[in-house]
């Protein structure tokens, strides 16, 4: 394996430092306690510090002798659309009800593919809505109303 400067390594290290650091800062806001009676902040503080240290080590190693990984392309459209679809689902399932939420989520996700045509997407979304209504609400008796309060139900 060839080793040289590696941006993905630095990025990974940065993410670890960032998340670990956030938890460390957060943990300081809770009671740390004593070794005998550790407070709620102690364990996250320890582990958070470990994550920061490991992140620094990974980033540092990435600057001098990182793993050679090609980061590759990012499907921005898919990332954006899928995140949007999932957030939409979580936000509206209570408010719009099962059928409309599922239909919109399915349509959005289908559009994540750069190669899909609109008509295909609508057909796939319709099919998935029917299928999931049958499977989850009719078959598995999931207690989610089909139509929600936003639609006047």
């Amino acid at each position: 394996m060839e080793r040289r400067r590696s941006l993905p390594d630095v990025l990974a290290g940065g993410i670890f430092v960032l998340i670990g650091g956030a938890f460390v800062v957060g943990a300081l806001g809770y009671e740390l306690g004593t070794p005998t009676r550790m407070g709620p902040g102690a364990f996250p503080l320890l582990v958070g510090a470990a994550v920061v240290a490991l992140g620094l080590a990974i980033a540092g190693k990435g600057l001098v002798a990182g793993e050679v990984i090609s980061f590759g392309p990012v499907p921005w459209r898919a990332v954006a659309v899928i995140v949007l679809a999932v957030l939409f689902f979580g936000f509206t399932i209570r408010r719009l009800g099962f059928v409309p939420t599922t239909a919109v989520t399915a349509l959005l996700t289908t559009l994540a593919s750069a190669r899909v045509r609109l008509l295909t997407a609508v057909a796939v979304a319709a099919g998935l809505t029917v299928a999931s209504t049958l499977i989850f609400v009719v078959g598995l008796q999931l207690r989610i109303p089909l139509w929600g309060p936003w639609l006047g139900f």
Partner: protein, 501 residues
Amino acid sequence: MELLDNLALGFSTALLVQNVLYCFVGVLLGTAVGVLPGIGPTATVAMLLPITFSFEPVTALIMLAGIYYGAQYGGSTTAILINLPGESSAAVTALDGHEMARQGRAGPALAAAAIGSFVAGTVATVALAAAAPPLASVALRFGPADYFSLVLFGLIVSIALARGSALKALAMIALGVLLGTVGQDIYTGTPRFVFEQRELYGGIDFVSVAVGLFGVAEILRNLENEQTRTAIVSKVTNLWPTREDRRRIIAPILRGTGLGAALGVLPGGGHVLASFTSYAVEKRISKRPQEFGRGAIEGVAGPESANNAAAQTSFIPLLTLGLPAHPVMALMIGAFIVHGITPGPNVINDEPALFWGLIASMWIGNVLLLLLNLPLIGLWVRMLRIPYQVLFPMIILFAAIGTYSLNFNAYDVYAIAFFGILGYILIKCGCEPAPLLLGFVLGPLLEENLRRSLIISRGDPSVFVTRPISAALLALAVVALVVAVLPTIRRRRAVVFAEDE
């Protein structure tokens, strides 16, 4: 014969009509989803997990186990037919299996995989039944300090076995442990890292983590370069292996079974290691090593047996110690907890019918798998033709509905998106997702036992090295860490793992 009595109890539970039925449904669903390209067993189990919550605990766990080995088997079908292994353990099967399929010998390859899996499953189930009770009785003597060291040991061994950078794997585990602290503190009830959102008090659901890391992140990776998949799925004919084939697969199946049963107990991907090792062994001792990679049936039978044997024995640490050996077992822990059962050494005494029923059902599941897969191969081949443009919206949608139905909590759904993106970026940077999930599931256990042992010892940390069991486990953990980081051994490990790359 206590073992026979126990197995009799197990079979009387497992053979109840509803249990056989749901074992069958589990195996069928597991195979159907596992066959779909690009979904490994972890994503399959995570997605189908919510379905099982409404059943009795025994039935639910039997069904879940069925889903797991169904998914495992479905994955190898995909690997053989279209060279798209769902997870790393099936990657080995793809080497020779797909080559055989291209030579028009997909039938014998699938049959070898099915027969090998069945033999391995049978032997490993007996091994599980024999090994679990003594281990559980040892584990009952564990104090909190011992448990802390055991969990730490398990996490560190999982790095030594995983592929890729040990430093990154360590960081992923620590990150998982850290994310596991979100929610109310067990001792004081203080809500931690919840941003004043009541919905987060219960913590982040592990199903969301698993679905995000293994489902959404994987889909994003597949959408990176979309191309019409060259699915040369030929018609599968001549399922039955020739006499020559049958003669050639017996020894690899037996060796694979032994290797898999032994390695499956190890935390962190023993099944991956088992199939790679089995392939390496078969290649080394074969009289025709040049055939490997060009369609040697031994290269399918051995690793598939090893893989399946390991899948069964990976239940040993789960059922006796409450420790998951790999991500799917981590999901099983969650399933136990949902049904109000804490997995660990007490299960065998408190819930004997569940414990032995689950073990017996594994054998029944393997029979069902054999009966199901060979005749239904035509159906699986047809499922392989489902275009990805239909498949991935279906996965996302079912994942969203499934995780929402866990607690009817919108934050569980938001978490999928978060872990999908986080997982995607980290995977692209060369970090493996499995250690994060293991850390996430074991983190709370680590914290609880750390704090409890310190309370008992009045804040004296030397308790971890003065108790013999704990000290031994910590020493082993240090050895494992050294092994994982030491460059020479890493290089040799790379050789074992590099066989397919």
